[in-house]
Amino acid sequence: MSDKTQAIFTGDRCLSCTSCMANCPVMAAIKDYRGPKLVGPAHGRMHFSQEDIEATLEFCSNCKSCDRACPSGVAVSTLNMLQRAEYYKTHPHTQAEDMIAHGERAGKMVRMMPFGATFANIGMEFGKTLGIFSKLGLAGERDMPAYASTPFKDLYSRIKQTAGGKKIVMFTGCFINDNEPQVGEAFVKVMNANGYEVLIDKGFNCCGSPLVVTGYLDEAKQHADNNADRILEWKKKGIPVVTPCTSCSLMLKEEYHELFAEHKFHEAAENVYDAFEFLEILQERGEFNDNVKPISQKLLYHVPCHLKCQAIGLPAANILEEFGANVQTADAGCCGISGNYGFRKDKYDISMKIGAKLFERVKRKDFDKVISDCGTCRMQIHHGSGIKPCHPIEILAAAYQ
């Protein structure tokens, strides 16, 4: 029998209870979407009857609120993504879809050119003003994520670390590498402060999350195979893989085996940690370096959906609070962007409607800083409220002096 955590298998557990529909932020924003239950689990039983695709499948943002709401452990959103992959077997991808799924490829191209980042950013600026992005099918209202002048992997090589001690491998994730290298630097600083040398494995690919949601399942499988094989190599050496990117950690820890049902994905998952999850484990073991100067800030914490569904609690809030921060969770639901979903022209309005409650909360400005572990959540909050959030690891890094 195949792996019982595989999404297809979990569909049989659905009791039809409708919790997923009651908790779906997309359904709340647009009534055209028939809802997670009907698309994934219910239709899974009906595929025998004819070749067909649920017309409203496109609305699922893969935010995974349904998975979290499900009292029966159904991998609802993954069932939807498997259906989406089926759809794209017979339907061509648009140019925009190709772009938003392949951020890693674009990043590599940019880095091959001298001053590539500068030109790319100027190009994107023009693209936005001239309405080119909009014509392509992208959300013209948005800024595309700007490329950092130096990618994290280059910055990393300049960081002096003490070798010879305990080690972790950092899974950088595309967004931190290309767009927010400062998060990567903060990550290294925090890990170093806790006695860990941070290694980088240049053989890792993009985790595959943007590929899965855009229906490039075969490519995602190649990424999954490569990444899992490398994670297992590190596991053999007793070195954990840690990532400050929430969607990457979710992909590596859960979605691989839900999608592809091979035992190795379970084994690899055991060696992967979200950044603050790892730090909290150190704290529990009494190995956490608490030589931290008090954090006296008031922080508004938007907890990413993809963190919530990892069932690890709120380790970032716990740690920051321990050192004096006043952390308030925004408690305003999904931000709406859900990876590349909000970058689609036809999903922009839905994305902004979902995020409206969060934007309102942020605009109250009763805090010093907004924090969120997820890169696209940070972009969305910035776009929707004008206030730029940071990764909680940046707050902690600043406290290690």
């Binding site: 019982k4 557990r13 009791l15 039809s16 009907l38 219910a42 009906m46 025998f48 004819q50 029966s72």
Partner: protein
Amino acid sequence: MEKATVVVIGGGATGLGILRDLSMRGVKALLVEKNDLVNGASSRYHGLLHSGGRYAVKDQEAARECIIENQIMRKIGKSCVEPCGGMFTRLDIDDEAYEELWVKGCKDSGIEATPITLDEAFKLEPRLSRKHVKSAYLVPDAAVDGFRMAWQLVDSSKRYGGQVKTYTEVIGFDTVNGELRGVKVRDQFTGEEYEIGCDIAVNAAGGWAGFVGKLAGVEIGVQPDKGTLIAFNQRIVNHVVNRLHKSSDGDIFVPHGSITILGTSSMSVPNPEDTSTSRAEVESLLKIGEQTFEDLRDFRILRTFAGSRPLYIPPGGAVGRSASRGFAIVDHDNDGLKGFFTIVGGKFTTYRLMAEKMCNQICAKLGNDTPCRTAEEPLVEEVSQEDKDRAKKFFPSYGVNLAATRLGVDRFKKVVERLESDPESRELVCECENVTRAEAEEICKDDTSFIVNDVRRRTRIGMGTCQGNFCALRAAAVFSEMGVEPTAKDSLARLREFLQGRWKGIRPVLLGRTLRETEMTRAIYELSMNVKGGAPQ
């Protein structure tokens, strides 16, 4: 007084087959059924259109009949037969010598049994036990939907003037000097009693044939033999999967639309109304089933159900599994009652052949020499691709083909028109089985819809994952709005009887996820809505 040349008693496959056959030969025929159609063994069964492989060793005549009727049904019943094919698998614990006998038996009976490698078998049926399965063959088994077939037989009969009265119970016979003059009946809802005049009456009451015979003063050797089956929430198999061994309990899995049916047991019962099932029967079926599919217990069970095979027991004959699956036609002229026939025994797969033979005798009596054409003419016309394409815009996904074969050409058109003109009718009454309000409304108006369960049998409302949890209320509401009086107005009674009907099959499988589901149903109906009878009784 209402009159027909022939009154057919019993709305099972046999009775309906006879009604169609007679109507097509130009005989004015009327069918009476005390309940809804196919309330007995014609729907409380596997839904298996036998290739004959099951009988290839023990009864080659039955096997030959099966393969011929199987081919006919595939041709005339495109809207009720799913040609999924079948597989026979021998397990390590099964007798190897039987396999040889079986291969020879198939060959002698004209059943194509193609041996396949184990690799091929596991590819076709990935959930088969790698540990136990030792050999596999493909046979032309198929799945057949007893509900659809029944109403398609009605549609076909109606085209030729045939009539059907459901919930009309036979309470006696009018005879003059040993000659039948009419059948006395009672309307189950109004209690009204009346007579239908006829020249001939056919007792096709299946398990109830003995009772009907008694009303006419004749004795009929019919032994109800109860078989219990389990319905699983999903398709576990792609083919009908049979154990290649001497026929026994729990050794056939049939993919039946969105679900899988495992069965059956065999137990003599005094009363054909006994459709009770027990936890012990479920356990024993699972125990056997998991020899073929090791992970069987991981799959969600929806419910159990049972029906009684009407086994014909000639004086001194064997009962149970050893009883013949053959059928008998009795002309009660020999018992001193002219114009009364009984047809009993047989099996679903060969219902058409049984009907043909019965009608040949009736027509001989009537001096009607029109040949039987039931094997040539399709039961119903198929819905055109053009109509399906038009419907696709309004139907839920994966719903068009199922609704088209359920509804037939005319009703399908009406439903599509409703969906087109009234966007609210596109709402799903039943989310698990994809039934729109438009379809439910259309069926509620039908002349055989008296209670919500009748609508369920036509549409599959309430037969999917949630077993009525969300659809019971909606279906009862639609029925009270669109259904017939006097039954429609008592909507609460209709809701209760629908819920109780669902729970009947759930009670013996109240464990695991099924228990969770049921507790939710109880919470909704008993606790939140205070529907008395909202809990399993």
